[in-house]
């Protein structure tokens, strides 16, 4: 019997290692695999490259991982926000590297990795600093630049429902980067609000089929409204 559901955070994060690239789902406060990130801090791994839309906000989650000194580099579209003080301090001190990627290019680079596409031409960023050093080509009357697939060793994902095959649904805007990142890592690890029996998810409504998922850990924190 296939059973991707694991019982402990240690099992969920088994194989975490220094220097790995971690794809981190979530957008704003929604769809963040925060409990998995806390557990990642616990493992003690360091020198991480983190791919996430934001460079962390407040104290917990990614900001906590950075504050603990575990992040060598962050690849994101939006490093600065109202409460991104930890990132900004580290960045000013030269203690963290930053690669800024347009949000859609980031999503598409991750999807490309998941879909086995090595690189693609996109109009985003043409004529800007983002195009520096990149191949430029006119395609069908449009100038485009070449962007490469962006893959992770781990993807940390938050889902709404999961079954033992790893099939996932998400809740509303909690979908965001999660299904895309789930496709694009060697090991995809999910924290799910709900665990349902196999067959409990409508096959038409599964957003991430289990083929993309390696491990699921149950992290219930209450249904809305809170």
């Amino acid at each position: 019997m296939i059973n991707k559901i694991v019982q402990t955070m240690a099992d969920a994060l088994a194989g975490a290692r220094d220097g790995m690239t971690v794809l981190l789902g979530g957008f704003g406060a929604v769809g963040q695999p925060s409990v998995l990130v806390e557990a990642l801090i616990e493992t003690g791994v360091r020198d991480l490259v983190v791919v996430a839309n934001n460079a962390g906000g407040g104290k917990g989650g990614l900001a906590g991982l950075m504050e603990a000194g575990r992040v060598r580099k962050i690849i994101c579209s939006f490093p600065r926000s109202a409460n991104s003080t930890i990132f900004e301090e580290l960045y000013r001190a030269g203690r963290i590297e930053l690669e800024i990627v347009p949000q859609g290019t980031m999503a598409e680079r991750i999807r490309a990795a998941g879909a086995g596409v090595g690189a693609f031409f996109t109009p985003t960023g043409v004529g800007t600093k983002m195009a520096e050093g990149k191949e430029v080509r006119d395609i069908n009357g449009r100038t485009m630049i070449l962007e490469h697939a962006l893959r992770g060793d781990f993807a940390l994902v938050e889902a709404w429902q999961a079954d033992r095959w790893g099939n996932l649904t998400y809740r509303r805007s909690g979908r965001n980067f999660n299904p895309v990142m789930a496709m694009a890592a060697d090991t995809t690890i999910v924290q799910s609000q709900h665990i349902v029996d196999l067959g409990g998810l409508d096959p038409e409504h599964i957003v991430t089929p289990g083929i993309f998922v390696d491990r699921v850990v149950h992290v219930p924190y209450g249904d809305p409204p809170f």
Binding site: Q103, T105, R172, V180
Partner: protein
């Protein structure tokens, strides 16, 4: 005729209202963070305009009362929103496929500068800004069928933001089709900026004085 002292520039709400007036029913529209987001407040619900947000929300409705907020439903500005009947959710790659694939009729962004060739600079205020936040601006500017900009006509210290060529790092080249400022509305045409509307009491002389690019006036 009228002296510039009589000018009544539009305030931010009036600017948003002015943009909203030009959005017809049936358009798919992405509104940037900040002032652009307020445009939605001036589109009546019975004029069906479908608002899109980068984080995979299509068909955004009015802001909810605080008690009715769904913690899982935010827009790209991280504000709580609602979903209209007919709305839908997609993931980030599909959301940007809508953007990059030219499926949005319109995107409205703020900007630091817009040039008469349609270039826009709205993400970094200096080449030395080492950690600027680009978000989805480059994808939106390059991808939407039309890019409109809503911004003050000048900076707080009075420097023009409508310029001959952008000095700040670009967000996209030749993308802007129209600019709404507190002083007027400007189409970006092959000749450059063409004035298509002016705030009450604003005249050509005032606009020219506050613009660092040639202005064309409709016959």
């Amino acid at each position: 005729m009228s002296a510039t002292t009589e000018a009544k520039p539009w305030d931010r709400l009036k600017m948003a209202e002015r943009v909203a007036r030009d959005i017809p029913e049936g358009w798919y529209v992405n509104l940037g963070i900040g002032m652009p987001t307020t445009v939605a407040d001036y589109v009546p619900l019975d004029r069906e305009v479908i608002f899109h947000s980068e984080n995979g929300v299509l068909g955004i409705g009015p802001r909810p009362p605080e008690a009715e907020r769904d913690p899982w439903l935010i827009n790209a500005g991280k504000q709580h929103v609602t979903l209209r009947p007919g709305g839908s959710f997609v993931h980030h790659a599909d959301s940007f496929a809508m953007i990059r694939g030219g499926h949005l009729d319109l995107c409205v962004l703020g900007a630091f500068e817009v040039a008469e060739n349609g270039d826009i600079a709205n993400w970094a205020t200096s080449e030395n800004d080492t950690a600027p936040a680009v978000g989805g601006a480059m994808d939106l500017a390059a991808g939407a069928k039309r890019l409109w900009v809503i911004m003050d006509h000048t900076t707080k210290d009075g420097r023009p933001k409508l310029v001959h060529r952008c000095g700040y790092p670009l967000t996209a080249v030749g993308a802007v089709k129209r600019v709404y400022t507190n002083l007027g509305v400007f189409d970006v045409t092959e000749r450059g900026f063409t004035v298509i509307d002016m705030a009450p009491g604003v005249d050509a002389a005032m606009l020219k004085a506050r613009t660092a690019a040639e202005l064309h006036f409709q016959a």
